[in-house]
C-alpha cells in the first residue's frame, strides 16, 4: 500500500515489546501491597493534600511561544525543501515571515514573560 503501513508496524511492535517487558515484571515480581508502600513518596514525610496543585502561568507562556514557532516551522519546512530551486524572492519571503514572528518573541520578552520568576 504505502510506506505509512510500515510506520504503523513500527508503532505496533514498538508497543508490544515494552508491554512484554512490563508484563514479565508483573509476572515474576512479588505482589505484596500495603498502605505504607502504596502511599506516594515524599522523602519519608506523610503526604499532605493531593498532587493536583495549581501551576504558575509561566508554563502556559512557554507552551504558547512553542506552539507559535511550531506552526511557523510547518510553513517553513516546505519553503526549505524548495528553496534550492527558487530565487532570491523566496528568501525575502522567508525573512519577512520569520521577522514578523520575531516581533512576537521580542514583545513577549519585553513584557517580561520569558522570565522564570
Amino acid at each position: 500500500m504505502n510506506e505509512w503501513l510500515y510506520v504503523a508496524l513500527f508503532i505496533v511492535v514498538g508497543m508490544i515489546i515494552p508491554i512484554g517487558a512490563i508484563a514479565a515484571g508483573f509476572i515474576f515480581g512479588p505482589k505484596k501491597p500495603n498502605p505504607i508502600k502504596q502511599s506516594t513518596y515524599e522523602c519519608g514525610i506523610e503526604p499532605v493534600g493531593e498532587a493536583w496543585i495549581q501551576f504558575k502561568a509561566q508554563y502556559y507562556i512557554f507552551a504558547l511561544v512553542f506552539l507559535v514557532f511550531d506552526v511557523e516551522a510547518v510553513f517553513l519546512f516546505p519553503w526549505a525543501v524548495k528553496l534550492g530551486q527558487l530565487g532570491l524572492y523566496a528568501v525575502m519571503e522567508g525573512i519577512v515571515f520569520v521577522g514578523i514572528l520575531v516581533v512576537g518573541l521580542v514583545y513577549t520578552w519585553r513584557k517580561g514573560m520569558l522570565e522564570w520568576v
Partner: protein, 396 residues
C-alpha cells in the same frame, strides 16, 4: 544480487518464498516479512540498549577516575543482565490515587517514541528503513509523543514531585524543540529534501563543515530534549528527587531508564546522519551494507560519546537559566542562522564546491561570533548593573 551485497532483499525474498510456498497470500506474506524485519530490528535495539547500560557506566567511571562494573562477568559485561533480572523480579508498586491506565501507558509510550525513531534511519545504501519524504519532521513527531508520555507519567502518579518534575521537564523539552526545528531546516535546505537518505546522499562534504554552528546548536537542543546534564533538572535530588518517574519501580522504571539511554544513542545517530554523512565514509559504504552499518554505528557511538562527555563534565544549570538561554539566545540565533543559510545558499548557488563550503563556513563563523559578542556585551551590562546595585547597598 547476493546476500553480501543486499542482505535485506535476499532474506525477504527467501522468506516470502517460504511463506507463499505454504499457500499464504502474497500481500499477507509481504506484510508478515516486514513485521518480522521490524521485530528483529527492535529486538536488536533492545539488546544494544542493554549493552548501552554497560557502556554508559564504564565511560562515566573513566570520567570520574573509577573502574566501573568489573565483577559480574569479564569486564562486568554481565552486569546489565543482572540489573534486568533485578528489575524484573522487583515488586511493581502503583501509588494510591494514581490514574491506573495513564500511569501504565506512560512508560510504554516513552519507549515506543524512541523505538519508532529507527523507522526512518537509513542503515545502509540498500537498507533505507522507511523511505519517508518527511523523515526530518518524523523526528519531531516522535519527540512529541515522548513529551506527552512525560506529562502523562508526571500527572498520573498523584505525587507532587512527579507533577512538578514532569511539567518542568516538558517546559524545557518544548522550549528546546524550537531551535531543534530550526536546525533541522538547515540540512533540509542543503539537501532540498526532508528525506533522511536524501540528506545523506547530499553530503559529499559533511554538513558539519558547511554549517558547524547548526551541528553545535542541534547537539545542545538534542541534549536538552534527552533531559541529560547540563539539562537534567529531573535529577536535581534536592528539588525534584527524581522528577516525573519518581513513583515508577521495576520494569516500568526500566522502560524510562532504557528509553533515555537508547534515546541518547539514537540522537547520536541522528547527529551523525544529519551532519556527519551517516553511513558514508569515503566510499566504503559501497563495499557492503554490513560495512555501512558498522560505519553508522561507529559514528553514532562517537556522537553518543560526545553526549556522555558533555554530561559528565558539565554542571546542572538552573531551570530559569536553561529557559532564558533557550528563549533569549538560542532561538533568535538559530532563526538568524536559518535565514543567513537560506540567503547564502541562494547567493552561492552554482558556485564551485570549495567556494560554497568556504562561504557557508565563514558565514556560520560570523553569525556565531556576532551572537557571542552580543551575549557578552549584554552580560557585561547585566553584571555592571548587579554589581552597581551591590556597591550602592554596601555604601548604605
Amino acid at each position: 544480487m547476493n546476500f553480501w551485497n543486499d542482505p535485506l532483499k535476499v532474506a525477504a525474498a527467501w522468506l516470502e518464498g517460504i511463506f507463499t510456498g505454504w499457500g499464504m497470500d502474497a500481500v499477507l506474506a509481504h506484510v508478515l516479512v516486514v513485521f518480522l524485519g521490524v521485530f528483529l530490528l527492535i529486538t536488536i535495539l533492545m539488546v544494544l540498549d542493554i549493552f548501552l547500560v554497560w557502556i554508559e557506566r564504564k565511560v562515566v567511571a573513566r570520567f570520574q577516575d573509577r573502574i566501573g562494573p568489573n565483577r559480574v562477568g569479564p569486564y562486568g559485561l554481565i552486569q546489565p543482565f543482572a540489573d534486568i533480572i533485578k528489575l524484573i523480579i522487583k515488586e511493581d508498586t502503583t501509588p494510591d490515587g494514581a490514574d491506573k491506565v495513564v500511569y501504565n501507558l506512560a512508560p510504554i509510550l516513552s519507549m515506543m517514541s524512541v523505538l519508532i525513531l529507527w523507522a526512518v534511519v537509513p542503515l545502509a545504501p540498500v537498507m533505507l528503513g522507511i523511505d519517508l519524504n518527511v523523515g526530518v519532521l518524523f523526528l519531531i513527531a516522535a519527540g512529541a509523543i515522548g513529551t506527552l508520555s512525560i506529562i502523562m507519567a508526571g500527572w498520573s502518579s498523584n505525587n507532587k514531585f512527579a507533577m512538578i518534575g514532569g511539567f518542568r521537564q516538558v517546559a524545557v523539552m518544548v522550549a528546546f524543540e524550537v531551535p531543534m526545528l530550526a536546525m533541522l531546516m538547515i540540512p533540509t535546505i542543503f539537501a532540498g529534501s526532508m528525506n533522511m537518505n536524501a540528506i545523506i546522499e547530499a553530503q559529499n562534504v559533511w554538513f558539519f563543515f558547511i554549517s558547524p554552528l547548526a551541528a553545535l546548536i542541534f547537539l545542545i537542543a538534542a541534549i536538552a530534549e534527552l533531559g541529560r546534564a547540563p539539562f537534567d533538572l529531573a535529577e536535581g535530588e534536592s528539588e525534584l528527587v527524581a522528577g516525573f518517574n519518581i513513583e515508577y519501580s521495576g520494569m516500568k522504571f526500566g522502560m524510562f531508564y532504557a528509553g533515555e539511554l537508547l534515546h541518547a544513542f539514537t540522537f547520536g545517530g541522528f547527529w551523525a546522519i544529519l551532519f556527519f554523512g551517516g553511513y558514508r565514509f569515503f566510499g566504503l559504504e559501497q563495499v557492503s551494507p554490513f560495512l555501512a552499518i558498522l560505519i553508522l554505528v561507529i559514528k553514532a557511538m562517537l556522537g553518543y560519546w560526545v553526549i556522555m562527555w558533555v554530561k559528565y563534565t558539565m554542571m546542572r544549570i538552573r531551570i530559569d537559566q536553561m529557559l532564558g538561554f533557550n528563549w533569549k539566545f538560542l532561538t533568535p540565533l538559530s532563526f538568524a542562522l536559518v535565514l543567513v543559510t537560506a540567503l547564502m545558499n541562494t547567493l552561492l548557488r552554482g558556485a564551485d564546491s570549495w567556494l560554497f563550503v568556504t562561504g557557508m563556513f565563514l558565514s556560520n563563523v560570523v553569525v556565531g561570533w556576532i551572537a557571542l559578542e552580543i551575549a557578552r556585551s549584554v552580560a557585561r551590562k547585566e553584571r555592571e548593573r548587579v554589581e552597581g546595585v551591590k556597591a550602592v547597598e554596601a555604601h548604605h
